[in-house]
C-alpha cells in the first residue's frame, strides 16, 4: 500500500512537472506532437527508474559510508550521464528498433533536471531501495502523463486562432498553468 501511495503521489498529487516544476524544458520543448511526447516520456521513465537504483546505491553504499554527501551533485550527475551513455550503447547493440525510437531522446535527458532532481528528492525522502524505484517509476509516468496531455492540447492549438504574441511557447505556458490548476484537485489524495 505504501508503494502504491508513493506511486500515485508522484504521478498525480505531486506531479513532477506540474507541481514540482522539474523537467520543464523538455516539457515545453518536446510537447508539440503526441508521438514524440510519448517517446520522450517513455525514455525519461526508463532513465528515471535506472537512475533511481543507481543513485540509491551510490548514496547509501558510497557517499554516506565515506562521509562524502557533499559530493552528491557531481557524483550523481556524472553517473547519470555515463549511465545514459551506456544505455544508449546497449540499446544500439541489442535492440536497434528501440534505439531508433528512444535514441534521439536519450542524450537530451541527461540535461533534464527531472532526473537529477528526482534523485536528490529520493535521497532527501530517505526512501528504501524498492521505494526509490517505485518513486522513480511514478515520477516518470507522471512526467509522461503531463507531457502527453500538453502535447494533445498543443496539437489542437494548430487549429485555434491564438493571439499572435501568445502563439507557440506562450500559450503552452498558459495551458501548463491550467493543467497544473486542474491537477491541484488531486491534492490530499495520499
Amino acid at each position: 500500500m505504501e508503494l502504491f501511495y508513493i506511486f500515485i503521489g508522484a504521478v498525480f498529487v505531486n506531479n513532477f512537472v506540474l507541481v514540482r516544476f522539474l523537467g520543464i524544458c523538455p516539457f515545453m520543448g518536446v510537447s508539440k506532437q503526441t508521438e514524440t511526447a510519448l517517446g520522450m516520456g517513455l525514455a525519461t521513465t526508463f532513465v528515471m527508474v535506472v537512475s533511481a537504483a543507481l543513485t540509491w546505491l551510490l548514496q547509501w553504499f558510497v557517499l554516506e559510508p565515506f562521509g562524502l554527501p557533499f559530493l552528491q551533485t557531481p557524483v550523481f550527475i556524472l553517473s547519470i550521464a555515463s549511465m545514459v551513455q551506456l544505455v544508449e550503447m546497449f540499446l544500439n547493440k541489442t535492440s536497434p528498433g528501440l534505439h531508433r525510437a528512444l535514441g534521439i531522446y536519450l542524450p537530451l535527458i541527461t540535461t533534464n533536471c527531472a532526473v537529477l532532481g528526482f534523485s536528490l528528492i529520493a535521497v532527501q525522502g530517505a526512501y528504501s531501495f524498492i521505494q526509490s524505484i517505485i518513486f522513480g517509476l511514478g515520477a516518470g509516468v507522471g512526467f509522461t502523463l503531463a507531457l502527453m496531455l500538453l502535447a494533445g492540447i498543443r496539437e489542437e492549438m494548430q487549429f485555434a486562432d491564438v493571439p499572435e504574441p501568445l502563439k507557440g511557447i506562450g500559450i503552452a505556458f498558459v495551458i501548463a498553468g491550467l493543467l497544473s490548476l486542474a491537477f491541484s484537485g488531486f491534492s490530499g489524495l495520499v
Partner: protein, 305 residues
C-alpha cells in the same frame, strides 16, 4: 427572365435552422429554473452575482475582441452563458469584486487566449471558478443557509445521515447558488435534452459512474448525486460541447471519467468537492480521447469479397 442574377454555391443548398447563438440562448433558458430557485433561496445575493458575473464576462469578451481587432461577437450569447454559469457555481456571499475577477479570468484566460469561442480547451467557467478557489479559498468555501446569512456547512460536509432528502431535492440547503435545487436542475436538463443540446452519454456517464463508485465505497448513491454540484455540473458543465470529446465513444469515456474523479476526490482527497477539478482534468484529456476513439469508418476493415 433573361437577366436572372443567380447565386452559385456548392451543395448542400439548405441548412438546418438551429444556429450556435440559438443553442447558447437555449442554455440560458434552461438555466431559468435554477436561477429562479437561487433567487428564491438566496435573494438579492443571487441577483447581484448573476448580473455581475454575466456582465463582466460579456464586457471582457468585447474588450478582448476589440483589442485584437476581431469582430465583436458577444451577441452569440456564449460569454453570457459562461458568466452566468460561473455565478451559479459560487457561494451566495461572495463579494461582488470577486465574481467580477472570476468572470474576467474565465473569459480572458479560459477562453480568449485560446482564440475565443470554440477554441478553448478548458471549461472557461470552471477556469474562473478554480482561479477564485485558488485565490480566495475562504470566501469560496464559506456557505450560508437559504433565507439567511448564517454561515453553515453544506450537506457534503455534514454528511448523508444529517441531511434531509426532500430539502436536497427542492434545494433548501446551503451551497453554491445554482447547485442546491435538484428539481430546478432536472427541469433545465430535461429541456436541454429535449432540444438535443446536451448529450445523454456525458450526463449519464457522470451520474452512472458516480453512483457506482459511491455504491462501491459504501456511500449513499442518492445522497452523493443530489448533494454538492455534481448534478449541476453533469447537466450544465460537463456537457459543454467545446470542451468535451466529439466522438460518441469519447463522450462515454469523458462522462465516466468525470464521475469517477469526482468521487475519488470526494472520498479520498482533501477537498470536499472535486467537481471543478474532475471536469478540468477530463477537459485536458479530451484531445487525446478524441484521437484515440475515432469511429471506425464505414467500409474500413471490411474484406473485399
Amino acid at each position: 427572365m433573361e437577366n436572372l442574377r443567380l447565386i452559385v454555391t456548392p451543395s448542400p443548398h439548405v441548412r438546418d435552422k438551429d444556429t450556435t447563438p440559438n443553442i447558447m440562448f437555449a442554455v440560458l433558458i434552461s438555466l431559468i429554473p435554477v436561477a429562479a430557485a437561487s433567487l428564491y433561496f438566496f435573494g438579492f445575493n443571487a441577483l447581484r452575482l448573476i448580473l455581475l458575473g454575466g456582465a463582466a464576462a460579456v464586457a471582457t469578451e468585447a474588450i478582448f475582441q476589440k483589442v485584437r481587432g476581431r469582430q465583436i461577437t458577444i451577441s452569440d450569447g456564449s460569454a453570457l452563458v459562461t458568466g452566468v454559469l460561473l455565478a451559479l457555481s459560487v457561494p451566495p456571499t461572495l463579494p461582488s469584486w470577486m465574481i467580477i475577477v472570476g468572470s474576467v479570468v474565465a473569459i480572458a484566460i479560459g477562453k480568449q487566449v485560446f482564440g475565443g469561442l470554440g477554441h478553448n480547451i478548458f471549461n472557461p467557467a470552471l477556469v474562473g471558478r478554480a482561479f477564485l478557489v485558488a485565490s480566495f479559498a475562504q470566501p469560496m468555501t464559506t456557505w450560508t443557509g437559504p433565507f439567511d446569512t448564517v454561515t453553515r456547512a453544506t450537506p457534503l460536509v455534514v454528511g448523508a445521515a444529517r441531511s434531509s432528502l426532500p430539502d436536497l431535492f427542492f434545494g433548501s440547503v446551503p451551497g453554491s447558488l445554482g447547485e442546491t435545487s435538484v428539481l430546478a436542475i432536472l427541469l433545465g436538463g430535461i429541456y436541454l435534452f429535449y432540444k438535443g443540446i446536451i448529450d445523454y452519454r456525458i450526463t449519464l456517464g457522470v451520474l452512472g459512474s458516480a453512483a457506482v463508485m459511491s455504491f462501491l465505497t459504501g456511500a449513499n448513491p442518492v445522497f452523493e448525486l443530489f448533494s454538492g454540484s455534481l448534478l449541476f455540473a453533469a447537466v450544465f458543465m460537463a456537457t459543454d460541447m467545446v470542451t468535451s470529446p466529439y466522438t460518441p465513444k469519447g463522450r462515454w469515456i469523458f462522462g465516466i471519467g468525470v464521475g469517477f474523479l469526482i468521487m475519488l476526490i470526494r472520498t479520498w482527497g482533501s477537498l470536499p468537492e472535486g467537481v471543478t477539478y474532475a471536469i478540468l482534468i477530463m477537459n485536458a484529456v479530451t484531445p487525446l480521447i478524441n484521437r484515440w476513439t475515432r469511429p471506425r469508418i464505414y467500409g474500413q476493415g471490411v474484406h473485399k469479397s
